[in-house]
């Protein structure tokens, strides 16, 4: 809940105070999206909103197929994007690792 509030506040402020010198990699997901970030419903962004721009899970899985394990192709199915991609974080926090402890690696080229 707290995370959501922080994210909402960040969004509401339009990140006016974000340092222009900040590296892209350090920017939060919301910052990187800027005005493109979907408007939350009841405080949450749904996977359907994200998929409008980013495509469905088939497309996402294809995009990350060189990762082992592939975070977009798992037995959990079509999880909510926000379960890993937090608006207020620069990097995703893998929900896989609430049960497992994977280190996601690039697959060796064949």
């Amino acid at each position: 809940m707290r995370k959501t509030l922080i994210a909402s506040m960040a969004l509401a402020l339009g990140m006016a105070f974000a340092s222009s010198a900040a590296l892209a990699a350090d920017k939060t997901l919301a910052e990187r999206h800027g005005g493109m970030f979907p408007k939350s419903q009841n405080g949450y962004v749904t996977k359907y909103q994200c998929q409008k721009c980013h495509g469905d899970y088939g497309k996402l899985a294809e995009k990350t197929k060189m990762l082992d394990p592939n975070p977009h192709f798992s037995h959990l199915g079509e999880v909510n994007c926000e379960d890993c991609h937090k608006a207020d974080k620069a990097k995703p926090e893998l929900m896989c690792n609430t049960c497992h402890q994977f280190t996601v690696r690039q697959k060796a080229a064949k």
Binding site: M1, Q41, N42, G43, Y44, T46, K47, F73, S74, H75, L76, G77, E78, V79, N80, E82, D83, M95, T98, C99, H100, Q101, F102, T103
Partner: protein
């Protein structure tokens, strides 16, 4: 967080918050908020796992207008964690592989595994319908089964394993069923959590009230409501009430969403719940969900608690070891100490490595204990005692006895310490159904309009289950429930039109 979408949880917690600090009456009042909409279907199915989707597809194919109401934003029950075995006899696969089998032998196995305490009629129904069920999954749903391998338990060449193609077989099965449902245009409504059954003055079920992100809605049904919501392993209060406090400390091997809606929602209808203390256990490591079963079944090593004491005969199945670990250790944690001769290490260690799952490995028992924080002196003494008893053929005189048939010494470095915890796979208890998947009340009668299938239904399993029989039961009783409800909806509609 894993599990349902946080949106639905937030909604729930808002209701909880509204009632917080007030009495339970406050909660009831919150639940009675005016629904925003009401719709009528022939068949209402609760839960979008295998049993729910099988029920829905069958009812649809029999001409019924069906809706599936799923509390999560995707199927999130036990099946997606499962290997995806379906246990049956007389299948095309058995025949093609030259495995001869009979209905009676299959039924006898089901009853033996349940210690003769599974419901006889339900196990007979399973036996008589499973072959057609597996055929249906292949021909109508497009499920691909691989070659029968004589596993899992009881390793009798009866399990058709769903080809996962990179997913668990169970997740693939659910995906195939979802595709089949979508192809048929069956409505599946996610983030629709059942909160109350609607019944008439004679306690016949007429519909269900659900909580959605848009508010409460009502779904009325001509044919009935079928619970396909799984068991109650993820509801600690129910686990404590029916199984015991120790079991609440078990690691969930499957879903965190199976919270016993069948129990809580059916209770006001005087339903007969059976086998409520029964469940399946298996070993697991909580932090990583790696499965140490191979080591436990290897016949090597001693098993100790975190105080460094043996607490059970090592010559037991992994099911018993998992359950006993939860029951006999306060922290539900234990270690298996083996040496490098243990025949399964080449299989097990890579799994631990891939998941960054901790284990101990050292050239001496003392160093090993230091690594995993076990009392070194105590364990060293125990290993020496074990080796001495083995050489004198007196392992069965140890306390507790160790009854390995072909024991091996713990002597060859490096030594390994493999962690384990007791995990809960699924609960077996639930509302008793009859062979038509109708839920029974305490007076031995069917509750009109109330059905259950899959792990929501009670009576079939007791003590243990044949690998693949949970998904098998979901298929068999899902198909039965779908047929029954579609027929009932037609009969109700015909009766109404006669009245007009």
């Amino acid at each position: 967080m894993q599990g349902c979408s946080r949106r639905s949880l937030m909604k729930t917690s808002l209701i909880g918050a509204a009632a917080a600090g007030t009495t339970s009456l406050g909660m009831a009042q919150a639940a009675q908020a005016k629904p925003v909409s009401s719709q009528t279907y022939d068949v209402v199915v609760l839960g979008a796992g295998p049993s729910g989707l099988v029920t829905a597809i069958t009812a649809h194919d029999k001409g019924a207008k069906v809706v599936v109401l799923e509390k999560c934003d995707r199927p999130d029950g036990n099946a997606i964690f499962a290997l995806g075995s379906v246990c049956g006899w007389g299948t095309r696969h058995q025949k093609e592989q030259g495995i001869t089998d009979t209905a009676d032998a299959f039924y006898a196995m089901m009853m033996d595994i349940s210690k003769q305490l599974g419901d006889k009629a339900l196990n007979r129904t399973y036996t008589d319908n499973i072959s057609a069920g597996i055929d249906w999954l292949e021909s109508e749903i497009g499920v691909k089964f691989g070659k029968i391998r004589p596993m899992p338990y009881p390793r009798l060449g009866r399990t058709c394993r769903v080809v996962g193609d990179g997913l668990t077989g169970g997740a693939r099965l659910v995906q195939k069923l979802l595709e089949a449902a979508k192809k048929r245009g069956i409505e599946i409504k996610f983030e629709h959590k059942a909160i109350e059954l609607i019944h008439d003055e004679m306690f016949a079920v007429k519909g269900v009230k659900v909580l959605t992100p848009e508010g409460q809605k009502v779904f009325m049904s001509r044919g009935g409501v079928c619970f396909c919501t799984g068991g109650f392993s993820a509801n600690p209060e129910l686990v404590d009430r029916y199984i015991g406090g120790y079991a609440t400390r078990m690691v969930l091997r499957g879903s965190r969403s199976t919270t016993g809606a069948n129990i809580t929602l059916m209770k006001p209808l005087f339903v007969k719940f059976v086998n409520m203390d029964q469940f399946h256990a298996g070993p697991i490591v909580g932090e990583t969900h790696v499965n140490p079963a191979d080591v436990l079944n290897s016949g090597y090593g001693i098993q100790v608690n975190t105080s460094g004491a043996r607490y059970m005969d090592e010559n037991n199945t992994y099911v018993i070891k998992a359950r006993t670990t939860a029951l006999q250790t306060i922290d539900n944690k234990a270690w298996v100490i083996v040496d490098s001769d243990c025949s399964v290490l080449d299989r097990v260690i890579p799994k631990y490595e891939r998941l960054n799952s901790p284990y101990g490995k050292a050239d001496t028992i003392e160093e090993l204990c230091k690594q995993v924080k076990l009392p070194a002196e105590k364990i060293k003494k125990l290993v020496d005692q074990y080796n001495k008893a083995l050489s004198e053929n007196k392992l069965d005189e140890m306390v507790p006895p160790c009854t390995y048939k072909k024991p091996h010494p713990i002597a060859k470095a490096p030594f390994y310490a493999i962690p384990l915890q007791g995990g809960m796979t699924a609960t077996f208890g639930g509302p008793l159904i009859n062979t038509k998947a109708e839920v029974q009340n305490l007076d031995g009668k069917s509750v009109p309009g109330l059905y259950a299938a899959g792990n929501s239904a009670g009576g079939i399993f007791f003590f243990n289950y044949a690998g693949g029989a949970q998904l098998g039961a979901a298929t068999v009783f899902g198909r039965i429930a779908g047929e029954q409800m579609a027929a009932r909806a037609k009969a109700v509609a015909a009766k109404k039109s006669q009245k007009k």
